[in-house]
Amino acid sequence: MRIVLDRAKCTGIGICEALAPTVFEVDDHGELVVLSAEVPEDAQNEVTEAVEGCPTMALRLQP
């Protein structure tokens, strides 16, 4: 599964970083950095939660 980020929707609130810190990190400018575009084996649940928990619906998963 790949993580797809819609930059137009993302406002850098950081819920995803809170849920899956090894995959998402907000930078100094408030921009989200996806640290691993491919969902890591050991972080499937957290990433799914992060995608579903995004307040601006900026994340989705693509097979």
Binding site: G14, A18, P21, V26, G30, G53, P55
Partner: protein
Amino acid sequence: MSAATVRSLVVVGASLAGLRAVEAARKAGFAGRITLIGDEPHLPYDRPPLSKQLLAPGGPTDPVTFRSRAELVAELGVELLLDAPATGLDPDSRVVHAGGEDVAYDALVVATGAAARGLPGTEGLAGVHVLRTLDDARAVRRALDEGARTVVVGAGFIGSEVASAARERGLPITIVEALPSPLVRSVGADLGTALSLLHARNGTALHCGQTVAAVEGTGRVEGVRLADGTVIDADLVVVGIGAVPRTDWLAGSGLPVDDGVVCDEFLRAGAPGIYAAGDVARWHNALFDRSMRVEHWSAAAEQGARAARNAVSPAEVQSYVTVPYFWSDWYGSRIQFAGVATNAGHEIVSGDPAGDHFVALYREGDRLTGVLTLNGQRHVMKYRRLIAQRARFDEAIAFARTSVLRRSATTTS
């Protein structure tokens, strides 16, 4: 096990917590009947944008809805009962009264939220608004688009976001705050004052320690008279003085209420099958070992989901534990807070409270309990994690030093 079999779930409150509740119940494999009851005519919509994007000049006027009616009804199999304010609860016969109907439940999630506090004596005066619902936001937006001279009562987060929207249009705006410094309860007096410097820098007048004596006008607001006699001309008054949990409909139900529906750590509300979530819920947060009620987006979302999972699988309840988190956008700057603010002292570990960026850490004894950032998006979640891990304050300070070092090493190389 048969006593615990849940065949019908009723969720009262069709905002974020209520929506997440019905979604989570289905995701947990619950195949029974689900009814979602809401008092507004609208489908569940997102509230943070109401004081942000919906007030921006040229911004959208339609709400952000999470799911279409078809998705809710056909895909999730949810029966919608909208425009139907709940009026009563009978926990013995397990019935909710809403919109003139009696709705029976095996499990119930109370997610009726909070109502914005109004300014007594201003009822029926045009141009005076609270900002809680889509209809409120549209009315405020219309007034700002028409060039309203605005007075905001209360220097909280909502009022400050209204001020940002007014200044973005170059409109005159004054904030009147009754307390000597703003945001005392949310972030403490010192840092509340630090944040309020943003108002002065962006041309918003802020009067602290001033109460409103009267809102003047006949039929429509014309001005606001302060206790010291000053009159500020106004076409729009936005009242942002907090919210009260919507528990009035539970009167007589016997459900324990004390500034919110009183729940245990599992969000159980003290009567069989009843749970609460979101702004209306006061629950025991084991991480801080205290009773809390928070009006935050992420808590509403998470509690809604947790309450519903517990409600449909009462034999496998899990506690809800969180580091409260909220954000607010002022004049293009982002404020973020995680944890609880204490008066036991704080330390600035990055930036300057008088500038455009800072990170402040709060302590309680030797424990890290909170973090406040201004334009510190990179920092906030890292400290939130430390708070969740019950980190000591000195560990957090050490972390701050190493991350500052790491950063200067990368910027100089």
